[in-house]
């Protein structure tokens, strides 16, 4: 405006966020840097900026989710967007409508951004190809959960000052976890070393092909770790035969104050929530000074604001470039 000139080419030109696998390290860092600018919005007296005024965001959640949905909803509201919700319970997919038909109908109402949570891997990609809207993946099957990984990266950078060179353990049911996959992609691209930890049935050695270290001996790796990310144990899987008993799992892979003592003094304990207290994470550790659980929730808001803003801007014609 003053000296209206665009100095450099924009880093972010994608109208969809589908997976971290397709992003460059620069693109990931640009989202994190943009999120820094949104963090303060949540601490002011007026917790709103007009950046997406007049835009419509639809939250399409085909899977149960409370915190991710609320986080996206609040993020959209803080950008002054109008938010509508679509939940499968009350919808016509129950009457046999396909995802794409549903999406086209919603698009026809003049929606700008679709935030999709779906049980099928690839659902967000599928939607992105079929609609003119921006599509943000809020979790698709066991494939990806990019905004969770971004808020994890943001929190690690905030607490550790860097990501490159850090040793990060991701502990739990890696096989069924989209968070683990997205975290791995993001951490690798930014130069961290990832170790997957868990019982052989949930963390097969084949994950080494993805570039992660795999171990079934949690205690042996504790002293090297800068960050330990404890995944949620899905109760419904405990019933299946891939799982040892809860007691055995807690004994071998639960984070507790005894294990914490063997970690580095400044280790960061993370959890994507909601926590099964006393199973993957002991209550005193979850509430202790090493834990970043609530910080992750707060940062998730800033990261999702950044993602919605960047995707919407990328959908606009760039006259300065």
């Amino acid at each position: 405006m003053a000296a209206a000139k665009s100095a450099e080419r924009p880093v972010w030109t994608r109208k969809h966020l589908l997976t971290l696998a397709e992003l460059t390290p620069e693109e990931i860092l640009h989202i994190l840097d943009t999120a820094e600018g949104f963090k303060a919005v949540s601490t002011r007296s007026v917790k709103k900026v007009p950046a997406l005024r007049g835009r419509v965001v639809v939250l399409m959640f085909f899977e149960e989710s409370t915190r991710t949905r609320m986080s996206f909803e609040l993020a959209a509201q803080r950008l002054s967007a109008d938010v509508i919700e679509f939940s499968e319970k009350m919808s016509s997919t129950k009457k046999g409508e396909t995802l794409l038909d549903t999406a086209r109908n919603i698009e026809a109402m003049g929606v700008d951004i679709m935030v999709l949570r779906h049980g099928a891997a690839g659902a967000a990609n599928h939607l992105a190809q079929a609609t003119k809207c921006c599509v943000v993946n809020a979790g698709d099957g066991q494939h990806a959960h990019p905004t969770q990984a971004l808020l994890d990266l943001f929190t690690i950078r905030e607490r550790k000052g860097r990501i490159a060179g850090l040793n990060v353990a991701i502990v739990g049911d890696i096989t069924h976890s989209r968070v683990a996959r997205s975290d791995l992609r993001g951490l690798q691209k930014l130069g961290a070393h990832v170790t997957f930890v868990g019982p052989p049935t949930l963390v097969p050695k084949s994950f080494e092909k993805l570039g992660a270290r795999v171990t079934h001996d949690f205690d042996s790796i504790l002293p090297e770790m800068d960050v330990v990310n404890m995944l949620r144990i899905q109760k419904e899987r405990i019933a299946s035969n891939v799982f040892p008993s809860i007691r055995e799992y807690v004994r071998l892979f639960g984070m507790n104050s005894e294990r914490l003592k063997r970690c580095k003094p400044d280790v960061l304990i993370m959890h994507p929530g909601p926590v099964n207290r006393g199973i993957e994470l002991a209550a005193d550790v979850a509430d202790g000074p090493h834990s970043s659980i609530l910080r992750q929730v707060t940062n998730g808001l800033a990261v999702r604001m950044a993602v919605l803003f960047l995707c919407q801007q990328a959908a606009m014609p760039d006259v300065e470039a």
Binding site: M1, G37, V49, A51, A306, E320
Partner: protein, 176 residues
């Protein structure tokens, strides 16, 4: 290309601005100096010691990013870069001097006023700019101006500062 200000002249203009601001500032209200990112922020930081020399010690300093308040977000698309607003004090009831490098259409200042309104309610907001190039599109005027110059819309006023660009100068570029 026309050189509007060299390094020494730029410094003189800043000293003039500081003296004018110090003379106008109320003595019974805390003074806050807030620069618009990025070059307004740099100028605001430079003004601080000059203001002190002119007898005014500002109570607060801050930097304001106006990207999210711009009225042209739909046309600039992905070129919009969000930076952090760093105002870690309550602006309410301060005498707030808003600093920018160039005053042109007035739209940056309009965005800045909206952003400030969301942060609190200053006793007064004053506007200080290094260069006023005219061609306003909104009813906005500066209270303190370093240099006034007539320009054409197709021209650009390029402010370069040591901290950002490695050199102190102001150029007028483009055909008249």
């Amino acid at each position: 290309m026309v050189l509007l200000l060299n390094a020494q002249q730029l410094q003189e203009k800043l000293e003039n601005l500081a003296r004018a601001i110090a003379a106008a500032a109320p003595r019974d209200v805390p003074v806050a100096v807030v620069g618009i990112r990025r070059r307004g922020e740099t100028l605001a930081r430079r003004l601080l010691p000059l203001l002190e020399r002119a007898g005014l010690k500002p109570a607060h300093y801050g930097a304001l990013d106006i990207t999210l308040y711009r009225d042209d977000l739909t046309t600039i698309g992905p070129s919009a870069v969000v930076r952090e607003t760093e105002i870690d004090f309550d602006i309410t009831d301060t005498w707030l001097v808003l600093v920018d490098d160039v005053l042109y259409t007035g739209r940056s200042v309009r965005a800045a006023l909206d952003a400030l309104t969301d942060l609190g309610r200053p006793k007064a907001i004053r506007l200080a700019v290094l260069v006023d190039r005219g061609l306003r599109e909104l009813p906005i005027q500066a209270d303190f101006v370093g240099l006034r110059t007539d320009t054409q819309p197709q021209q650009s006023v390029d402010v370069r500062l040591l901290e950002v660009d490695g050199v102190d100068e102001v150029e007028l570029n483009g055909r008249r």
